[in-house]
Symmetry: C2
């Protein structure tokens, strides 16, 4: 994987995050790329828009991809603007997605260590745009954010 692919994968995830923010939602985005760099699925957190406790960005991207064969997942890379929570970590493990690229983990750090312990290649890009958008949302709507991570 080239650095260009990583950058464009994260850019697409960030576009999802921005779309979520513009809808009034929690600005976390995710895309899943195939081995060929094609977008298999993309999505953003829909807690507020769909009153959904499970449509985190990564789950929304998996949903949008639809039913896929194991070999597709096993050659894919998942991009997400924010470190994946336990549920999304578990979804990555269920489908044995081997590579995860994370925009940032300073606003929230999920279960990255479990991903690594199970053999997933995890890259954290420490992206400034991802950090700023997430920080802005947390300041604006702290209750919604805490609800999303099971804290309030």
């Amino acid at each position: 994987m080239t650095s260009n692919t990583e950058t464009s994968g994260l850019q697409a995830a960030f576009e999802e995050a921005k779309a979520g923010y513009e809808e009034g939602g929690i600005p976390i985005g995710s895309v899943i790329l195939t081995a060929d760099g094609e977008i298999l699925g993309r999505g953003h957190n829909l807690r507020i828009q769909k009153s959904s406790p499970t449509l985190h960005a990564e789950i929304a991207a998996l949903e949008q991809a639809g039913r896929q064969k194991a070999e597709i997942y096993r050659n894919a890379t998942l991009y997400t603007t924010l470190s994946p929570c336990s549920m999304c970590t578990g979804a990555i493990l269920l489908y044995k997605i081997p590579r995860v690229v994370i925009g940032e983990n300073s606003n929230f750090r999920g279960d990255e260590d479990l991903l690594r312990a199970r053999g997933v290649q995890v890259t954290v890009l420490d992206d400034e745009e991802c950090k700023q958008l997430m920080r802005r949302f947390i300041q604006e709507k702290p209750e919604e954010w805490n609800e999303d991570i099971g804290e309030t």
Copy 2:
């Protein structure tokens, strides 16, 4: 928690599993009970019915419950007819649901050890009806089952 509550919680989950089977779906059901024993959410696996890779029974039950406050989850019990996969395990951990009652883990054993390691109280009832229904489905539609656990 009394044994009667455990039995009736599992019975409700099994009804969901049977409903899924009758729809032509993967027969796994789940219910979430509040501290008072009220049903907060219920659902069954919808992979086949909704072409969904993420609506496992536990996720469907969380979705049906809708947005809830942390304290509700932290006093709830999740019942599922089959040992929860990594994704559903992660969802339980995200919302800090403290108790999980599992119908059986002989047809599939998920990430129970991770639940226990993170302090979740896990009870496996080794229920004969749950085992038989799941075994029947796996024999009838092995490909759909293997797809559901990321194996084909």
